[in-house]
């Protein structure tokens, strides 16, 4: 049962209540991990990114403003940036062939997987790669809408722009993803 809103917990932590921080970690760790995983593409990196994000939250909670949108958009933004930073540092997404990437994720067992599973794995890798290539605004809007299901108006408030701009970012993100996945759809 949730007795307090996400924002109440964040405000408690802003006032110095460390127990609120633990509560915040436990409440959002699943979503932060999922966001990190969608970009980093493997469990180990996603766990590392998730921990880094919460350490950052601990340091930067004072910069979060309750009136600037919910806590989740802020966390998704921090997580996506952290995961992208990790990828940039390792330069993974630039040169890894699709086959290798899938094999790295357990796709090496493709012989025993159904065609549908193999295809889902390919889509997954392509989406991850495309997400890393989107602009920050496009990526945040897409992830918040597609994966987290946040209304566009809430996303606009969280990102400090108009709903119209959010829609345009979403369209551009989708079109970029479409290009990344085009050859898969054609085959």
């Amino acid at each position: 049962m949730r007795s307090q809103s996400d924002e109440d917990i964040a405000l408690r932590f802003q006032r110095g209540d460390e127990r609120a921080f633990d509560e915040l970690v436990r409440r959002f760790q699943g979503k932060v991990f999922a966001t990190a995983y969608r970009i980093a593409g493997n469990r180990e990196d996603a766990l590392d990114v998730s921990q880094e994000v919460f350490l950052k939250v601990h340091r930067k909670i004072d910069t979060w403003e309750a009136r600037g949108g919910g806590l989740l958009p802020w966390l998704v933004r921090l997580t996506a940036n952290q995961a992208i930073d990790l990828l940039r540092r390792r330069k993974r997404f630039r040169h890894v062939p699709l086959e290798e990437a899938i094999a790295a994720e357990g796709g090496g067992a493709a012989f025993s997987r159904t065609e549908q599973q193999v295809r889902a794995g390919e889509i997954d890798v392509r989406v991850r790669r495309a997400l890393a290539r989107l602009s920050e605004s496009q990526r945040n809007v897409f992830m918040l809408r597609h994966y987290e299901g946040l209304p566009l108006a809430d996303i606009a408030e969280a990102l400090g722009c108009t709903t119209g701009s959010v829609k345009v970012h979403l369209f551009r993100a989708l079109r970029r993803l479409q290009k990344e996945l085009k050859d898969l759809r054609e085959s």
Partner: protein
């Protein structure tokens, strides 16, 4: 025309997630009716949104303990950096041992009362009057009253040249007498950040900074580490067990370091001065030999190693003690860092 297409594309994306109003839907329908390329984009994007899975991978573990550990580790590293700044030229471990020793030996003759007493005579400055009033309350044992008097004085006379001193007295009262650690933490933070000039000029700067770091570390545990240290000190049985338990629960922390010094004092003869390096080492050894918890033993070995290194200038013994401590996984990183500090053999 361009704006019209831009709007239509934005609405097209929004419509995929069913986020368009009736008016927007009507506008989009009109645009789709007259623009075949837009219709093609709609079909392609509908297919795309269906193809991208929205399910989330399972985390399956609780990250909170790991994040906590990393916060504590980070605080330890910050503390090491802070000491390099606060006590220029001194080794961090020396500062820690020395400051703790001063704290242990002179708890009730430290700076809070000094600050308060120093302003008894003057009556013109309202802040000085408030300080005098707080000093009277403190002498009467009314620490809460003194705390609130000081707090109000600082709030009302923030721009006064002596506001920094009042803030320091406030922080010290909260820490030493009231054990209100959250308030002490906030007060030291304010003192260092907002009264920076007073802090930098203060003869108590190193001690204030050390307390600030101890409180910052304690914050990560909701100050439970400091409350447990208080409880261990209040235990009159003479047992070291409460300190051992605290060290085992918070190894490698400043609180654990403080606990080892309390243990040394507890095993020393009544009235015995453990200020010299040799006596302090002897007391720490005795405390270590009475311990049963391996984490406490390792923490004591690290502290003992610091005394050998910095007070007795005996690198060989320090190295042996750090190596022994490094065998304990809970203290290993601290022991290894201390070994590195010794340099090559």
């Amino acid at each position: 025309m361009w704006f019209r297409l831009r709007r239509a594309r934005g609405l097209l994306a929004a419509s995929l997630y069913e986020e368009v109003t009736e008016a927007e839907r009507a506008f989009l329908s009109r645009e789709l009716g007259r623009n075949a390329a837009l219709r093609g984009e709609l079909c392609a994007l509908e297919e795309l949104v269906r193809a991208i899975p929205g399910d989330a991978p399972e985390l399956g573990v609780d990250l909170a303990p790991a994040v906590r550990r990393r916060l504590v580790e980070g605080a330890r590293l910050r503390r090491a950096r802070a000491f390099r700044y606060a006590v220029a030229g001194a080794v961090a471990a020396v500062a820690l041992v020395a400051a703790s020793y001063v704290w242990l030996g002179q708890r009730h003759s430290g700076f809070p009362s000094g600050v308060l007493v120093a302003h008894h005579g003057s009556e013109e400055d309202p802040l000085v009057q408030a300080l005098a009033s707080a000093a009277r309350l403190r002498e009467q044992g009314n620490f809460t009253g003194a705390f609130h008097a000081l707090k109000m004085a600082v709030e009302q006379h923030r721009g006064d040249a002596r506001a920094g001193e009042a803030q320091l007295a406030l922080a010290s009262l909260a820490y030493e007498e009231l054990h209100w650690y959250a308030e002490a933490d906030a007060a030291y933070e304010t003192y260092i950040r907002e009264f920076t000039s007073a802090f930098e000029a203060s003869p108590y700067r190193a001690e204030a900074w050390e307390r600030h770091e101890l409180l910052a570390e304690g914050r990560a545990f909701s100050y439970a580490s400091l409350q447990e240290l208080d409880a261990a000190r209040q235990d009159r049985s003479g047992s070291l067990a409460p300190f051992e338990a605290l060290i085992a629960r918070y190894p490698k922390t400043l609180a654990a370091s403080r606990a080892t010094l309390d243990m040394a004092r507890r095993v020393a003869q009544p009235g015995e001065d453990i200020g010299s390096g040799a006596r302090l080492a002897s007391a720490l050894k005795e405390a270590r030999d009475r311990c049963v918890n391996p984490i406490a033993v390792a923490q004591l070995n690290v502290e003992l190693g610091h005394v050998y290194r910095t007070r007795l200038l005996d690198a060989a013994n320090a190295r042996a003690l750090y190596r022994e401590a490094a065998q304990c996984p809970e203290v290993a990183s601290l022991a290894k860092a201390s070994l590195e500090g010794l340099g090559p053999e």
